[in-house]
Symmetry: C2
């Protein structure tokens, strides 16, 4: 069978339908579907993406395409009762691109194609509107010139301006037919002057040149960038839809508009749109005239308005989602030009999904799948208090959500210095580079005047979870002078600003921020996610405050309670330091005893905050040198405080120094070499837990031993832990459920998971360290020094510290799960690395059969939704393979 390259639509039926986006593009499939739905659509036809791909390769039409276009053109002529190029009754066409994925503003459109000096006369005659005809002609020349011939917009702009200046008018609409006729001549001259050729008079030549221009536009730089940004494959190609023109500019009985079937900002159920009378589509978008709200149409053209009301409801019901529609009214008659799923804010998306479910339009599952989990992020950061007064001085790209205030600094070194002195800082740079990492790390937020959503600043800030406003071109940064300017305003080092990475706003002075709160729709929505998902969601929380927040956000336990901070603090650090500097084990033990009551209280508070839920407590992980003073001054102070000579402190610091601390004496290694530290921690945990049980609380501690690579490490430490735990349980005389398990964060732990599972009562994947060792990347070094370039050069698809690397790290995770469960079939397995809050990684965790993910409290809602998605997608895939 011959390949079909063209699909007709019109007169109430179409060859395509909404499921043919691959072939017809979103626009073509939408027009076909609308036609089939019985909505009035101007007739036309769509050239497939296959034709485009053929053209990309061969730089020529595929065989037969020319003939198919001709045949379809005839059908359009017949439907419209007009002839293409007919000087008496000319058919005019619109030519639009339309790829599978909506790429707004990226591809180009030519309207009024088919106009030439002859058909112009016919059009004038037919419409009895000479002004409209010339207006159409000049628009055609301008679009053809810029899109097909590659002229610049300003080539035409200067001519138009000159004519308006001579005429003394401000608006295009104030020009009369003669003015426009003159403009057409001047445009033609301009084309000839700039490009050295004339716009072809032959409508078929116009059409072919335009189709090819659309094909070529797939590879224009804006399109390529958009695809790169949105992960759209480069080899899809675009379809081309050719459709009979209808005219919204045939007088006050005509018009054109765009609308959303619901409010795209807040999600309210309300028809929401704008229109202009006597205008063509581009006028609404161009912003030259201010459009009217859609409600006004009811008064101006009540019949068309009524029809539109019927149609929008029909379309929404048909597509079962909020639609973004375009329409034109030609001499009182309504035509629908486009319908597509409308873009919306996350807030609106949730409300619409919940409302539509309640209306019975969609199922809960569909509702859940309509929101990408990461979208929730913008609702879960600290936000500027909406009731606060604020002076917005500039607006850049909303590159990384959250709001933060701080003193302005202009170099990474200054950032560190100011920070060291106790100030919160905002780092302001023209753009950032890998050398700035140390400054970015200590800043509250980052503001750059250059660079886009994938600039270094934006990517690194998102990775660090810091707010960032990037590419704020309104500000001009002078790093030498340590100031930035916005017009006349000068902001100097040390001045306070606030930035909102969720909106892109830059605000003078400090503005109060508020904790994010979950709306009632969000609560409903997340409860549905909970109904679906099978993967548990816990939080990484080290303090009672974090634990409470996590619980409010729906965490079902703590998956990682780090205990490092329990050794810091004004009162505690000197004790820890004295312990490290002690001469012998006995002194170390007696020193550690002083920390015991404090840490016991810490554990009591956290266990109480999570009453009834499991709390995984990781024993001390970092190497000891992290606790020793760094600067001369700190050494001095410590020496005075604990009476150890400075020289002795220096010597110990030197002894403990490591070439690669990440791979050094930390985690369980420390627990084995210096057992008294873990023993104190275990004592604190179990005394806290047992006392709480005695007080009537229900607590579930899980002791997690970090950095195990060999089962013997775990064995030794587990025995020790059990011995102490049992001692305390017996002496306090209570029943306590507890587990002892390990973090799986080394390749060797994954490979020998079957052995480790003989001892471990649970596994928790520490995918941060696992990613470091599997790749051999030191995160501290890699993210600043080469990882950014790796992603940029597409050596890696994603930063593996943000999105779990399924091929490498994931393969080991899968292996560990299988081996672990072979030995201990009901082994509880979770993940507590940062990947536990990343939707793609959560999907993977569900696939390989983990029991839960654990993430930062703020990401708990995201994880709940992502877990539901994972379940739904897996079921869908399984259904699919069942029916095969």
């Amino acid at each position: 069978m011959k390949k079909k390259f063209v699909y007709f639509f019109g007169d109430g039926k179409a060859e395509g339908n909404k499921d043919m986006k691959d072939l017809l593009g979103g626009k073509g499939a939408g027009l076909a579907e609308m036609t089939n739905t019985g909505v009035p659509v101007p007739p036309g036809f769509t050239i497939t993406t296959e034709a485009c791909r053929y053209y990309q390769t061969h730089k020529a039409y595929p065989p037969g395409l020319e003939e198919e276009i001709e045949a379809n053109l005839s059908m359009v002529e017949k439907s419209m009762g007009k002839g293409f190029g007919d000087p008496e009754n000319p058919l005019l066409l619109s030519v639009r691109s339309g790829a599978k994925f909506s790429m707004p503003g990226m591809m180009d459109t030519v309207l009024n194609l088919g106009l030439n000096d002859q058909t112009l006369v016919g059009l004038t005659h037919k419409t009895s509107n000479r002004r409209m005809a010339y207006d159409s002609y000049r628009r055609f020349i301008q679009m053809f010139g810029s899109i097909v011939l590659g002229m610049e917009h300003k080539d035409f702009e200067v001519v138009l301006k000159e004519i308006k200046r001579v005429k003394g008018v401000r608006l295009d609409t104030e020009l009369d037919a003669d003015d426009l006729a003159h403009l057409v001549e001047r445009y033609k001259e301009e084309v000839k002057e700039v490009k050295g050729i004339e716009i072809p008079q032959d409508p078929r030549e116009q059409l072919k040149m335009t189709i090819i221009a659309v094909f070529d536009s797939w590879d224009n730089p804006r399109a390529i960038t958009y695809r790169k940004l949105n992960n759209i494959p480069d080899d899809l190609g675009t379809a081309v839809t050719i459709q009979a023109m209808v005219f919204g500019n045939m007088g006050q009985n005509s018009g054109t508009g765009v609308a959303f079937t619901r409010d795209p900002a807040l999600g309210k159920k309300k028809f929401y749109g704008e229109y202009l009378l006597n205008a063509q589509g581009e006028d609404v978008v161009a912003g030259i005239r201010t459009p009217n709200p859609i409600s006004r149409l009811k008064e101006e053209l009540p019949e068309a308005y009524g029809q539109l009301m019927d149609i929008y409801q029909k379309l929404e019901a048909h597509y079962r989602d909020m639609q973004d529609i375009e329409f034109t009214i030609e001499d009182g008659r309504l035509f629908m030009l486009q319908t597509r799923t409308g873009k919306r804010t996350t807030k609106a998306a949730i409300k619409i999904a919940v409302d539509m479910t309640n209306e019975g339009l969609i199922s809960k599952e569909e509702a859940l799948l309509r929101i990408e989990a990461n979208q929730l992020d913008q609702l879960l950061h600290r936000q500027i208090d909406p009731s606060a007064k604020k002076e917005v001085i500039a607006c850049g790209l909303a590159a990384s959500p959250g709001a933060a205030s701080g003193k302005v600094v202009f170099t990474p070194d200054d950032a560190c210095e100011w920070n060291h002195e106790g100030h919160r800082v905002i780092l302001v740079r023209t753009e950032t580079s890998p050398d700035d990492i140390h400054g970015m790390a200590v800043a509250q937020g980052i503001l750059t005047s250059r660079g886009g959503m994938t600039s270094h600043a934006a990517v690194v800030a998102r990775g660090m979870g810091k707010c960032c406003v990037a590419g704020c071109e309104a500000i001009s940064v002078n790093e030498e002078a340590k100031e930035f300017r916005v017009k006349d305003l000068v902001v100097k080092e040390g001045d306070v600003i606030t930035i909102d990475g969720g909106t892109g706003e830059v605000i003078l002075e400090e503005v109060p921020t508020i904790e994010p709160e979950l709306t009632p729709e969000m609560l409903t929505f997340l409860s549905w996610a909970d109904e679906i998902r099978s993967l548990g969601v816990r939080a990484n929380a080290d303090t009672p405050e974090d634990a409470k927040r996590a619980r409010d956000f729906g965490a079902e336990g703590i998956g990682l309670c780090r205990t490092e901070h329990m050794f810091f603090g004004e009162e505690r650090l000197p004790i820890m330091q004295a312990m490290i500097l002690a001469k012998d084990e006995e002194t170390r033990r007696s020193t550690l005893d002083k920390l015991l009551p404090m840490q016991k209280q810490d554990f009591k508070d956290i266990l109480k905050a999570m009453e009834g839920l499991p709390v995984t407590i990781r024993l001390l992980d970092p190497p000891l040198h992290e606790f020793l003073p760094k600067t001369e001054e700190e050494v001095e102070r410590l020496s005075r405080k604990i009476g150890v000579p400075k020289k002795e402190i220096a010597r110990k610091t030197e002894d403990l120094k490591e070439f690669n601390p990440m791979l050094g004496n930390r985690g369980c290694r420390l627990g084995i070499i210096m057992p008294e530290i873990y023993q104190m921690q275990v004592r604190a945990i179990f005394e806290a837990a047992c006392e709480l049980v005695k007080e009537g609380y229900h607590v579930k501690p899980e002791v997690m031993i970090p950095l195990v690579g060999h089962v013997n490490e775990l064995k030794v430490l587990k025995e020790d832990t059990q011995r102490i735990a049992q001692e305390i349980v017996n002496s306090i005389g209570v029943n306590l459920d507890y587990f002892i398990g390990t973090m799986i964060e080394l390749p060797r732990a994954c490979i020998t998971a079957d052995e480790i599972a003989t001892e471990a009562e649970f596994f928790s994947f520490g995918t941060n360290d696992l990613t470091q060792t599997v790749f051999g990347f030191s995160r501290d070094d890699a993210e600043g020094k080469f990882l950014f370039q790796y992603v940029d050069k597409k050596i890696l698809e994603d930063n593996p510290f943000a999105v779990l690397d399924r091929e490498g790290v994931g393969e080991l995770v899968r292996m560990a799960v299988e081996k672990g469960r072979k030995v201990r079939p009901h082994l509880k397995i979770g993940i507590c690395g940062e990947h536990g809050g990343d939707p793609s990684s959560i999907e993977f965790c569900h696939q390989v059969g983990l029991d839960y993910v654990s993430c930062s409290p703020y990401r708990v809602p995201i994880a709940r939704l992502a877990a539901a998605h994972a379940k739904l997608k897996k079921s869908a895939r399984e259904d699919l393979s069942d029916t095969r």
Copy 2:
């Protein structure tokens, strides 16, 4: 069936045989075998290791053992025509331990058991030799007292000395029967005094107590240490052999001796032994009387001598190996008491193996299996020139082979300082600790006054491949005063000494050392290994000198030529530094151009040295900061030399600083971020290779890209390398075979080896880095700080940097081999980590199907032998499973 715990031997036939070492121990199996062979052996029986193990657990004889012993005792009585405890004609017994593995000096023996005040009379009567009877009795009391009752040797020594003093004699033999009778009484009193009990008079009680003492001696500290040192399992247990006594001390017609069937020091084919007339076995070993060389026996007891000649040849032929035999002549009649495989030096072992093969006694395969590959190590280090004059001042343990001279230093910091000033140093410590690592690393060798073969110094030095003399108790180290003393001699910091870790000698002044050389036997022996093995052996060599040495030792190519050193050197380093400090790529490129001709010459020299053999060249691996100056002074000098401000150098150094350099911007990461360095190297390699081809040489360069974790890294760099290579090949106009491959040294590379193999033309496992990442151990930190303790506490069996960890690292290696070959069936795969020179690791490499191992030139012979062993062992295992 009832379990049999006792095996009889005597009268020309035995229940056991030589293959029953597990059950009867080496000694018991040997006596049984000898009996079966028709060699005259005093009758006896062996209690099995099973009985011992039962005793260990139950602290009681297993049921039935008592009865079996009684029955066997009767058979011995019958065979000897004597009665155990018979006052007229007493049977005396020897009781000896004998485990599966020979543990010389570790277990204990009691002779003349069965003597008491009554049987003494019978013995006197029967032998007509009162002196001999009392001599036997006093020996029995002494042995029973010390071994069974746990008295100290000196308890008896003082009594004996006193009697000799009173008598005025020097030798035991000068004491007459009355003296000995007196001695017996005095010994009895001594026993009663020290232990408060009397030696039992009942022979059966004597026997039972002795058997239990032997069982218990399995767990004496010396035995435990020996097993730990020699990797002998703790749960084997020992057998007990009870045998009729024969007497070498029955006058000048009697005697006893030990002999080797060949020379155990040099391996010459010559019966080699010593004997004493009128003596019991222990006298020969004890060294109180000087034994005679065996040849003298021919004159003294010609008949027995003739018999012995027949028997030793019979035994060697029977056991097909050099034997270590013990014999006793009782009144002219020869009895063989023991035969076992004789210990020998490596030199002798090789000569004996080669000779026996040539004699047709054993096959080449057997010859190869008789020498452990690691034994060759002692022949392959620099040795002290045998013709050199040397003043040996002390002798310690030969803890790590090789010889080195240097200035004496006493602290690790001094070691670094002296080394930094260009001196070669020997670090002398009382004992070393993990804090000394940095000093050990820069020292030529290590000398300690305390600690054994498994002390920190010994283990770490062996790991570092440095020579070490440990536990040299003759020296007394004063670290405060920075000197050590040997008696009156004082050696101060800065004095030069030489140590020989192969002999344990400490020598004053510098002594010339020589390169090891292969003897003709060694060459023959290794050629047989080459015939057998299928695994290739290459060397890690960075210079033409190393390459030549490797080739002399039999390397079949270079498996790893590191290129780091080509950037160092007086002339080159400043260029490299200027490149690193350059402002832009262009300057970097022009600076690198200056290194090109030098490196090209380096490659020419190495390729020429390895003509006809493959040379794997690894592109630059270390991070750039390793090339920058470290000290203030070096910065100053560089600044003056290349005209870059000090501040600029400091800034760049700061920029390049890394938290974990091991996981930082190095290897292929650097190659991608700063491509000009690899491009220069590739240019140098291919210009060198092509010019050599033009000159008529046959060269085979293999370019190895390090630290690849993702196939895309390799892809990008391979394309670049190929482009440059092809350019040069074309422009010089030659044919050149070359490969481009990668080091597999990251877990991710193993896991995704199938993807990497789509690009890599060869794999070479970098198991050093792979071990670091699989375990998450920084070698620099771990070996000094906790790995030593891990091995000591048995958390790990071996240092995984010395012996490949099969469970973890090995599993990834296996996975990578499988995945790689699935994609590219003939993928050449080698290993170039240090494990390539370790026999156990080489065995593993053979098992998983690698094509070659690559190791340091000095270990090439070891690898050749180990590879042959691996093949032979695998074939043996496969044969075994075939017949199942």
